[in-house]
Symmetry: C2
Subunit: 510 residues, 2 copies
């Protein structure tokens, strides 16, 4: 299956490689490397932790809802049903009689268990709000695959995959939530939605489009403005460059100057052997492959540059970019390749168990492969690299995206659909008159923050910006080592959510 080879573990990132690629069309596939290349220890470990939580750790019950394939049409095909998975925890719920709140995570492009494990904030705040927790899996991901759960069929071509879209996903959430509330007799319980990354975009859009289903949304690191005409294609890569530069100008310079050296080495057999040796590659890879692998490391690390040790994409220490730059700076006399290896090793091999790196390993433990399709249908999020950045220069090209999508799926994207459906142009003027109760959290070290809402729009449409924050860091479990700013962010979010709920109860009594 073609898709498997195109996977990328935090699939929003696929977009990056769409545009970072300066390679010809025939090199399209290799530009989607998986960040977890080495085997076998880490991948095994990840999948083990993933499966154990669903069955035995008591975090949640797993349930299924019979969902409609197509909410907006009434063709015979569209009347098909599928089983949508959701995770359910009522440990702290105050019950229907009290109209106690329901907290819903609007699932992203992957296995919902993985996002659930990385959204400790909901578990930690549930007791305070006596909230029921529900995590809904996005259609076509994890175990929520239409067409009888048959992935071969569902992902075969556009006649089935065509039902994977953001608007259908939002309608899924509305339908499931309304039905669930009926079933547990909690019609008047307020629903608050939460989401990070693409899940955050869905949460924000859900509040905008379905205000009768949710009273408010915490949209964390949601780049709802990262669409054509609304954002500079360079903001993503510029942010990564700034992240490294903020640790040390030299660190940035070493990486920036490395690409030419790698390309030069790639031109000779001797050079290729040097690359293999320097980077502990299991076999000989082209310089293009290696560049993609390093770009992944720098990019994912920037996204997950958390202030405490984490294991979202890969296991990482606290402040991993700082650690990378320290590794680069450590021994000034080492070669550029040795420095880069030392830094990349932090991302790919923090546990230290890898003996060599397999750049062909495109395993997909979190089942993120469907994003490739979403990036070919409606998620046209322009990304490019300018000269001043840290990556090889690359212009954003819609045509190149469109050509790829034509080749892989025999489909042409609809580049203006997202802004047609959800807006974005003059967003402050529009939303202040037509929406309320959304928190837009962004950490400025997160490359996706450039496409986020960074200024408050009104008293109830609040932007929280953390200069030192990374990709939806606020949603993670708290730790004793959390810096003060992070604790304050979460406290502020809790306070705002409490105000929504309070006002909802007051409205209800009118």
């Amino acid at each position: 299956m073609i898709l498997a080879t195109l996977f990328s573990p935090l699939s929003l990132l696929l977009l990056l490689f769409f545009s970072f690629s300066t390679l010809s069309f025939s090199h399209f596939v290799p530009t989607f490397p998986s960040p977890s290349k080495f085997h076998p220890e880490l991948t095994t470990q990840l999948s083990r932790s993933s499966s154990s939580s669903s069955s035995s750790n008591g975090l949640y019950e797993t349930k299924f809802f019979t969902q409609t394939l197509d909410h907006f049409d009434y063709t015979p095909q569209s009347n098909h049903k599928f089983q949508q998975r959701y995770l359910f925890n009522d440990t702290h719920w105050g019950g229907a009689n009290n109209n106690a709140p329901i907290f819903v995570y609007t699932g992203n492009e992957g296995n919902i268990e993985w996002f659930t494990q990385n959204t400790g904030f909901m578990f930690e705040t549930a007791p305070r709000f006596q909230a029921l927790l529900v995590f809904i899996e996005h259609r076509f991901y994890g175990k929520s695959v239409p067409f009888g759960g048959n992935r071969e069929v569902a992902y075969a071509n556009t006649s089935t995959l065509g039902y994977l879209s953001s608007t259908q996903a939002l309608a899924d959430y509305a339908t499931l939530i309304i039905d669930l509330k009926k079933n547990i007799s909690a019609i008047d319980s307020p629903v608050v939605v939460f989401g990070g990354s693409y899940g955050g975009m869905l949460a924000a859009w859900f509040r905008m489009k379905y205000p009768h289903v949710t009273i408010g949304a915490l949209a964390s690191s949601a780049p709802i403005l990262h669409f054509p005409g609304l954002v500079s294609p360079y903001v993503f890569s510029d942010t990564i460059a700034n992240d490294f530069r903020s640790e040390s100008e030299n660190c940035y310079n070493v990486i920036k100057s490395s690409w030419k050296q790698i390309e030069d080495a790639g031109k000779t057999d001797k050079g290729l052997k040097l690359l293999q040796k320097s980077f502990r590659l299991c076999k000989n890879y082209s310089s293009d492959d290696l560049e993609g692998w390093l770009q992944s490391a720098w990019t994912y690390t920037a996204m997950t540059d958390y202030p405490t040790p984490s294991n979202f994409m890969n296991p990482l220490p606290a402040y991993p970019i700082r650690k990378m730059c320290e590794a680069i700076e450590k021994e000034k006399k080492r070669s550029t390749f040795e420095k880069l290896y030392a830094a990349a090793n932090i991302y790919y091999n923090y546990s230290g168990s890898a003996t060599c790196f397999d750049l062909d390993d495109h395993s997909d433990p979190h089942d993120l492969g469907g994003w490739q399709w979403q990036a070919c249908s409606e998620m046209i999020m322009p990304l490019g690299v300018r000269k001043e950045s840290m990556f090889p220069e690359s212009e954003w090209s819609y045509k190149s995206r469109s050509d790829s999508c034509q080749f892989y799926y025999n489909t042409t994207p609809r580049p203006h659909w997202i802004t047609t459906e959800f807006g974005g142009y003059h967003i402050h003027q529009v939303l202040k008159r037509s929406a309320s109760n959304i928190i837009f959290f962004n950490g400025l070290r997160d490359p996706w923050s450039g496409g986020g809402v960074l200024k408050s729009i009104s008293k109830t449409l609040v932007a929280i910006v953390a200069k030192e924050g990374a990709h939806h860091v606020d949603l993670r479990y708290s730790t004793k080592e959390d810096p003060k700013w992070l604790t304050h962010v979460r406290e502020k979010e809790i306070k705002i959510i409490a105000s929504w709920i309070k006002r909802y109860y007051r409205d209800l009594q009118l």
Copy 2:
């Protein structure tokens, strides 16, 4: 084609007959009579006036837009395109350089020319606002038929007809408006949407769902609450009864007691002949047919009980219910059938040219037939009749609707979809926090007013209620005979729309 026989000229009314029918399933078809039964003069006249306005009266240019069949999916079928008609008048437009406003009519279930002719309010207010006028035809109606404009194919079965839905129509409007604004370089021109009846529902929903495309909506006689669980099924028929009763208690009593007499007459040949003679029927019809024909007359007249002469459904005098009741009262000694005939004649033959009435005439001059499908997919608007009303008692039965839809289209309705997608429950609490800039006009003589928003929700969500008003009377051309209340309603609407535009311009400068 089955559909043609099920047509009803103001197609929202189809719903009525779905539920007014106390007949068995086999009688389903005859309960959808056309209100314009007699031939040939009036039908000819109507269609003549209809076609002339599109070509020669200079009211508008006719244009077409290449529209996407399915906005929400990406299957091969959904990528089809079709030609959507819209009418365009820039006589008074202030131009793109001035960001002059664009007034858009969100077309209903029929030929857009017909609705345009009955929305004089937009033409009359255009000069004052220097507004561009655009009237967009609803997909599957008029000349906006997908599948190459081939009605046989488009209406053949659910595999094609399944793309006729309200959400697709709203997305059509968003797509067309955004594209049009680009093409005329009027990106920052504010768009105000207008609609009456189902078009009014679409206008209101459009403002709720696409606030980035329109700054406000005038939703006239829009029964957005006429859905299961939100409204009494009796409110529609109760309103009609009250309309007649308000003219004279005796008038109401004559009609109320007539059904049994008609049914009794229908049991014998002699009685049937009496009915044919009394009602000037072209041939013998069953009492069921006659009842449907009379119900249509009373109902449509209640909807169009305008204070001035009109020709919306049929040509009618001012205050037609009063005229009907006067006809019933006129000669006390006449038989019930003669009284009813005199009243019905006002609706069916005000021009006086009919020689006999053909109850089998199901011609559809305004192309409203598609509503039958919409009533079988998502437009589940419960209607019933209680004992105290003026019509034969009849309980609303979802099962009966569902059975009919299964029979005719091999489809089962989705009765909760509209409220899932657009809300309705606790609408005041929801919308006051999540919407603005909608005028809900309702005339209380209009049977659909019971499903409308009759109380203001906030300073910017304003209900205008006219005790003496009928179905979207505010949208009609003004006349010298307009009563003061109607003039005031329109002035109030203009003032509110002006305030939206003023605030939009102010926001734009921030």
